[in-house]
Amino acid sequence: MIGRRRKQVMNAVQLSLILIAILIMLVPIAWIFMAAFKNHIDVFQLKLFFTPTLKNFGTVFEPPFYLGHKLMNSTIVAFVTVVLAIPIATMAAYSFSRFRLTGETTMLVVILATQFVPAVVIILPFFVMFRDIGLLDTRIGLILVNLAIVMPFAIWMIKGFIDGIPLDTEEAAMVDGSSRLQVIRNIVLPMAAPGLLTAGIFCFIIAWNEFLFALILTNKDAVTLPIGLALFKAEEGDLWNLLSAAGIIIMLPMFVLALIIRKYFVQGMTMGAVR
């Protein structure tokens, strides 16, 4: 009986902790969500009931903010990053997973280790280098930087998915008459597809949210959305209503992608051998 009581108490504690965590995470988002539909004067009043307005979403695209241009930059940079990263990472991951490479472990660890270098440490060399070869404030420059950021992550993640494909299946395909490339196209890619999609979405999210490099390496032409947020300052202080509207524009694709991932992530994890 005592054990059962204790279990109930534990459950209650657990539940409250979860609720607190959810609250801490959701309150700022809820605040932003409301602020985005408020007038400037209403922002600092914690009113739950107010006359919502869509005006903010128009204003952010107008001069002097030009959010459209930044939205464009962010979209292009994140999209091209993913489109380049996934095929390259897939090839690398396949090699790591299926072939015995000399220094394989070392390479894998080094690839992972690049993730441990704090961005602030290498950002200055990047700045100098990009200035010298004229990549400063260009989308190509940003795409290169983002590739460097997402590749290790993508390689490791996709390698995990390919490791999960039984070798038997590939060998059967080879004996059945496929070349190595046909094996990859007909067997590995379809079986790893949910994994590739998941990895692609994660890379997109990372590239979309990337802040530090974009802050230092761009100033006008290639400015992305997260940097654009800093523009919403005026003499009267931070324009929180506009900031929030822009914030929602940034978050919206993330919500959609998160929903897609949720579906495929599980599928990607559980898809595997048929024995």
Partner: protein, 352 residues
């Protein structure tokens, strides 16, 4: 349509020798079974023939071509894997059709050939399913259908019946035999089930530790084992192996003085092999010697009598209606036509 020739084939992983200088000729249309205990190198041999494993040494010939440097796809073999190796993202139809499609078979031919193969293994009602939705036995049949949908030079089958239940295994065995006589394609078949080997094979190669111990027809393997290992491995129940010596043409057990005439020169150490079927069971006093029953087993189709002979136990097969009790005395007589002598140190057969 081709013979498979292995010349001095060796596979090593570091110091470990999985296949040791194996030479073997499988003739055209022959059904050859590689038989041996777990880990003796059967799968490794087969994977080398398929091109999935690179030999450390030696040559592999398929037809009149040395295929050592050919990719698996260019060897024109079809393989049934020990773990099926099905394509989980394709339907059964597409699984079976894959070898045809990837080899560029014209589209109009694919459908009828897949249906025919599916019919041969009785899978027609599952063609739209995915492998995940099939039972182990059905998956194994998909793997089989995928192999027979083409007419390759060689079939390679790695324990294709191992995951079936006992009953299905017997039916599938007969189907496989029927199919193989119908298709007439050179086949290398791996198993550790000796009944499968005996029933399916034209010839059996018995392997141990990466070395072929004996190569011959099922009859030869069963009735004329080349050495102690083959003698002990083939047959169920296993052949009785009794330690003793030869004195004046008589076999004397190590512990006792019981005698059986075997002929040949005197030898200090010798192993006498005799199958359970070749021991005649009778009432006490009517055989060569009288022995007590250690255990009496009734399998339904026959009775198995384990008897205590000196310090050793020997299994004899009795009539299916024979009824005895533990510790009863019975007489046994060894059939002198079917006794085998082995050197216990080298394991080789002593022929007198």
């Amino acid at each position: 349509m081709a013979e498979v020739i292995l010349k001095n084939l060796t596979k090593q992983w570091g110091d470990f020798v999985a296949v040791d200088g194996q030479s073997l000729e499988v003739s055209d249309k022959e059904f050859l079974v590689l038989l041996g205990p777990s880990g003796c190198g059967k799968t490794t041999t087969m994977r080398m023939i398929a091109g999935l494993e690179e030999p450390t040494e030696g040559e592999i010939w398929i037809g009149d071509r040395m295929v050592n440097d050919d990719l698996p796809k260019d060897r024109d073999v079809a393989m049934v894997f020990q773990n099926y190796g099905l394509y989980p993202h394709m339907t059964i139809f597409d699984n079976i059709a894959y070898p045809l499609r990837v080899r560029g078979t014209p589209g109009s031919e694919i459908e009828p050939r897949v249906r025919k193969a599916a019919e041969q293994v009785e899978l027609t009602q599952f063609l739209e399913r995915r492998p995940k939705a099939l039972s182990g036995g059905q998956r194994q049949r998909v793997a089989l259908a995928r192999a027979i949908v083409r007419t390759p030079k060689v079939f390679l089958m790695d324990e294709p019946l191992s995951n079936l239940d006992a009953k299905l295994r017997v039916t599938m065995r007969a189907e496989l035999k029927h199919l193989s006589r119908e298709l007439k394609v050179t086949t290398v078949y791996v198993t550790h089930d000796q009944i499968e080997a005996m029933t399916l094979a034209d010839r059996v190669a018995v392997m141990k530790d990466g070395v072929i111990q004996q190569l011959g027809s099922p009859d030869e393997i069963y009735n004329d084992p080349a050495n102690l290992f083959v003698a002990g491995f083939i047959g169920s129940p296993a052949m009785n192996l009794i330690n003793g010596s030869i004195q004046g043409g008589q076999f004397v057990t190590t512990g006792g003085t019981q005698l059986v005439p075997v002929g040949g020169d005197d030898r200090k150490e010798v192993v006498l092999g005799v199958r359970a079927d070749d021991i005649r069971v009778s009432e006490a006093g009517q055989g060569n010697i009288d022995v007590p029953i250690y255990a009496f087993e009734n399998t339904g189709e026959a009775t198995l009598l384990t008897v205590q002979w000196g310090r050793q136990r020997v299994i004899a097969k009795g009539d299916r209606y024979l009824r005895k009790e533990q510790d009863d005395m019975i007489g046994i007589a060894l059939n002198p036509e079917h006794l085998y002598l082995f050197d216990p140190n080298t394991g080789s057969r002593i022929r007198t």
